[in-house]
Every structure is written in structure tokens, then in C-alpha cells.
Amino acid sequence: MQGDREKGLEARDVGFRYGKNGSWILKGVNLTVRPGERVGLTGPSGCGKSTLAKILAGYESPLEGEVLYDGSPLPEKGYCPVQMIYQNPEQAVNPRWKMEGILCEGWTPDAELLRDMGIEREWLKRWPAELSGGELQRFLIARVLGPETKFLICDEISTMLDVITQAQVWETLLRAADRQRLGMLVVTHSTALAKRVCTRIVSLQEINQS
């Protein structure tokens, strides 16, 4: 069945808790991100922003409700059109892979993108532990900007970058978002940043019934 792209990425009545007896972190959460839209998600630490982000990216299954992409469940095989970038880059890489392998796992970024992201050719031959936090994060952003990516889930992705690199990286991200009509969920604690890069801002506490 051909899906309807304009439906976007949808969390429907999502409920989640860790473990059998844990308290509900998310309950009855409804949120839709449409193509071309950049939704800022705010809320205090531990309120479940990252959990919701992981559920939307398909890394965690909701215990209640469902996540729909174009009206159907996320594909289980092949390249996932919904990609996620984490806050702590060192936790998102395999320490036994060189940077080249990590970068080109899903697609092969062109030289222009590497230049825009300020990635040095020589870094490709290094191990993740041989790069600074900010250098590593630039790889993890470039690696998900492939043409098959339709939605990007960004969980505090620029807190490890200096402010100039942060502005550069967002410039590149917004350009890619325009070009590919990406939908984005942007988790950030910085209201100033959310105002700059998002098309609308949602407070998780307001849409969460837990």
C-alpha cells in the first residue's frame, strides 16, 4: 500500500514505562511531525523527552499506542527513513570501528557535506576515542543526512559543540532540511536555539497525561 507522506511521523496515544513496575513516564501522548516541519520539544530533565524521541525513531517500542510513518508502522528492514542523533556522541558509535566506517554505514556523504561540516579528511582514519566530543558529533550528523532520510530526531545535538560550530552545523542542517523537506523533532533546553531553528515548539508536559 502506498503511504501518504503528508501524514508525517505520528505518535498516537503513546504510553511507556521502564520495567514492569516502573511508573508511567509517558501516557496518552499524541504528537505529529509533518514533512518540512521542525518541532521543538521542551520540558524539564527526566520528563521523558529522550524517551519519546527514541520511541519516534523506533529505537524503543511503545507499551501503549503506536508510532506511524506515512500512516503505517516504521519499516523493520532496510534503511530507516527516521534517523536519530544523540546528545552523547561517544555512546552512539562502535569504538572498534574507524571513523570512515562509522560515517559511511548508511550512505556515502560527498566532499561538499564533509567540508560544510568541517570534517578533516585525516580524521576518517582515526578511532572515535581520538576525536574530541564536538568533532565526533559532526560525523554523527553527516552520517544521517543521506537522501533516504525523511525525518530527523535530534536530541540535544549541539550541546557538545562550541557556539560558532553550533551555528554552522544548524545552517547545514536547515539547508538539508529545506532541500529534502525533512521533518524534524528538536529536543533542546535552549529556548533561544529552539526559537531560531524550529517552526513550532511543544511542551512535553502539556501533551503528556502521565
Partner: protein, 309 residues
């Protein structure tokens, strides 16, 4: 001035750090990532270190703690309370007088319950619980393993762990990402309290707002050197009060200001230009910028720029 009379807890003099790397073929090359860097922190003071990512902030922290990787090689001097800080000394002081909050949450031992890790060998359960309460970590957290924690919780565990003993020097490498505003403030309040009690705090952070609010002085790093050290007040005042073009570009890039990135990138350690390391991106450069640029005192701060006035 009172600052002058306070004891220097840590003084770093002309510190250089390089890594030996295997480059093309099997030839070994040396990659220098810190170049003759000097700074000091006094008792009662919070010195924030901001700057470009990859400029060597974490390497500086690791050098102070004596935990650089095996392929690193160090030159220059470090003094702790006026005495040479050797690798042997570092080992003895680490985790006692010198506390460290690492940037990567990977520093937690994945196989040990977090309560036990935080207590270490000498800590008491009372102190650990007190700190967990202070940082909003619930009772049950102490029995959890690191993988069960959210990013923000892991960060709070690292903070608690550093504050277990009465340190004289705290080196905090990006302590606050993922923390709510309230917890960020709580963390800073702890740093301030410790500083007021005579401790020296080196606070490495990309959160410029935080540095503005919390620090007494701010050091700006670029490509393995310090380009400016100035009172935090000057950064709060705005661009005109600053001395180095890079520090000014920093303020322009803030989302609450212009959000306008300075074009170009920090030079790669293996291909450093002669003269000023910032020259390639500087609108004010001229022939005078091609020589060695020393650190100079300008308007109550220090700057590495020939044109600064």
C-alpha cells in the same frame, strides 16, 4: 585587589601536548594539540574555559589529572599550590584533593552499581545519599547500573562522585549538558560554595550563558592555545569589551544574538599556519600577524592578538 593575594592553586606554564600517530605508510608523526599554553586558577575562583570544539580543553583537563592516553607526550610545567605537579603527585591527589567531572559519561564503570562507584573506597553512605538527594537522584538510583540511567542522571552521578571528598581543585569538563535549569543552577551553586570555601574551580563548558553567570574569569581556547583571558564581566558587557576577534565572533554566533557563524574552521593540528592561528578567518589581519604572537596584557585581561587595544 583581593584576587592578587589569594593563593594560586593550579598554575599551568607553557604546556604542550602532542600525540604520536601512525600516518601514511608506517611513518610515525607527531601531532601537537596544545601549544605552550599557560593559565592559572586561584583559591576562591571559578575560571571558565570556553572555546572551539577540538581546541584542547579536554586534553588540558586530562593532562592536569594525569590521565592522557599512552601515545601522548607532554612538555612544560604544572604547579599545584606552588609545588611541581608530577605524574606521581597527580596519582596521589586525583579523587582526593583534585576532583574531576569528565565530559564523557563513559567514565562510569558499566559493571558497578552507581552508589558503590560514587562512594569509592573512602566515601560514606550518608554523604553519598545526601549528594544524591541534592541532585534529585531518587533512593533506588544507587542500586542501578550506568546503562539504566538517562543522560542527565548519569551526569548528576558524575557530579556527585566528584563532590564526595573535600577537594581543593575541581576540574569539570562539560558538567551540565542534559541537566534542567534547576539542576544546572544547583551544580553551579555547589561550585560557588566550594570556591567560597577556598577551592579553585576550572569549569570547561560550551554553555556560554553558564560561563557568563558562574565564572569570575573566562579563558577562550582556539586551536590549542589561549587567545583571551578576561573577567567574565567583560563577556556580559558585549563585543566591544572583548579583546580578541575570535571571542567577539563567539558572541555573534549565540542564538540569542545574531546566530551568525563566522565562516571557516579551526586549523587542523597537522597543518598549522605560521603566525597567528586565527589569521585565516580574521577580518583584521595584516602583515604584522605573520610572526609569533605573544600573550599581552590589555585592559585588565590578556590577549593573543597584535592589534588588540
Amino acid at each position: 585587589m583581593e584576587q592578587k593575594t589569594k593563593q594560586e592553586i593550579l598554575s599551568v606554564e607553557e604546556l604542550s601536548v602532542s600525540f604520536s600517530m601512525y600516518q601514511k605508510g608506517l611513518r610515525k608523526g607527531n601531532l601537537e594539540v596544545l601549544h605552550k599554553l599557560s593559565l592559572s586558577v586561584r583559591a576562591g575562583e571559578i575560571l571558565a574555559v570556553a572555546g572551539s570544539s577540538g581546541s584542547g580543553k579536554s586534553i588540558l583537563a586530562h593532562a592536569i589529572l594525569g590521565i592522557l592516553p599512552g601515545n601522548a607526550c607532554m612538555d612544560g610545567r604544572m604547579l599545584y599550590k606552588g609545588q611541581p605537579l608530577t605524574e606521581k603527585e597527580k596519582k596521589g591527589l586525583r579523587g582526593r584533593e583534585i576532583a574531576f567531572i569528565p565530559q564523557s559519561v563513559d567514565y562510569l564503570d558499566p559493571l558497578m552499581r552507581v552508589g558503590k562507584q560514587v562512594r569509592g573506597v573512602r566515601g560514606t553512605k550518608e554523604r553519598q545519599r545526601e549528594l544524591f538527594r541534592k541532585y534529585g537522584l531518587e533512593e533506588g538510583v544507587e542500586r542501578k547500573y550506568p546503562f539504566m540511567l538517562s543522560g542527565g542522571m548519569a551526569r548528576r552521578v558524575l557530579i556527585a562522585s566528584a563532590l564526595m571528598e573535600d577537594a581543593c581543585l575541581i576540574v569539570a569538563d562539560e558538567p551540565t549538558p542534559g541537566l534542567s535549569e534547576r539542576l544546572t543552577e544547583e551544580t553551579l551553586k555547589s561550585f560557588r560554595e566550594m570556591a567560597d570555601a577556598g577551592c579553585a574551580v576550572l569549569l570547561i563548558t560550551h554553555d556560554i550563558d553558564l560561563a557568563f553567570k558562574a565564572a569570575d574569569r573566562i579563558a577562550v581556547f582556539y586551536a590549542g592555545t589561549v587567545v583571551e583571558i578576561a573577567p567574565a564581566e567583560d563577556f556580559r558587557k558585549g563585543k566591544e569589551a572583548l579583546r580578541h576577534p575570535y571571542s567577539r565572533a563567539f558572541l555573534e554566533a549565540l542564538p540569542q544574538n545574531e546566530f551568525c557563524p563566522l565562516p571557516g574552521f579551526q586549523p587542523y593540528a597537522a597543518k598549522l599556519p605560521k603566525g597567528c592561528l586565527f589569521a585565516e578567518r580574521c577580518r583584521e589581519r595584516n602583515e604584522m600577524c605573520m610572526g609569533e604572537i605573544p600573550m599581552r596584557k590589555v585592559r585588565g585581561g590578556e590577549v593573543r592578538c597584535v592589534h588588540a587595544r
